[in-house]
Symmetry: C2
Subunit: 115 residues, 2 copies
Amino acid sequence: MEQYNKLQVEAIKCGSVIDHIPAKIGFKLLTLFRLTETEQRITIGLNLPSKKIKKKDIIKLENTFLTDEQINQLAICAPYVTVNHINNYQLVGKIFPVLPDYIEATLMLLNLVLN
Amino acid sequence: MEQYNKLQVEAIKCGSVIDHIPAKIGFKLLTLFRLTETEQRITIGLNLPSKKIKKKDIIKLENTFLTDEQINQLAICAPYVTVNHINNYQLVGKIFPVLPDYIEATLMLLNLVLN
């Protein structure tokens, strides 16, 4: 039968890649931050092998650039993620989220979603 | 900066590919059928271009073969999906779900999730 490589999900041309998400957290980030509520292409890998954290999730958002505030919010769920900004298939920025000094209202919601 | 192709999410070696899911339905299938509750690798593409249905979602489940019953249940949410079984990167089976003659208990739940 035919070779199945044609269904490969390719690298994005332009947008954000949320990388090094601990396995099992990626799907929760998608839900919590409503990342799938867009017309843009999204590619997601769950339970992928990782040298850094053994098993990771990854989310690629085409034509979407996360703001610093959004990136820092990600850190509440997944402190060691990196967010890569891509332009024309090239890495043009690498952002490490910073945990906020204090967290006010989101914890109850997070607790609901993550447990 | 470095070429970003290395983060490409590749084709699966062995498992099931749920293809031609209408855009916006893929994430709901993941939730409804709890497809992410596994240790196996999953790759997902949302809002991908499709000749057949313009925009589609696709879900690739590594080392997981859906049963006929599970495949037919998918058809309730997405009647025109195809499920491809892959072995050693080759397409070894193509299954078209069949809608059951009658549906008893799942409709209420579906209505809750899909709307």
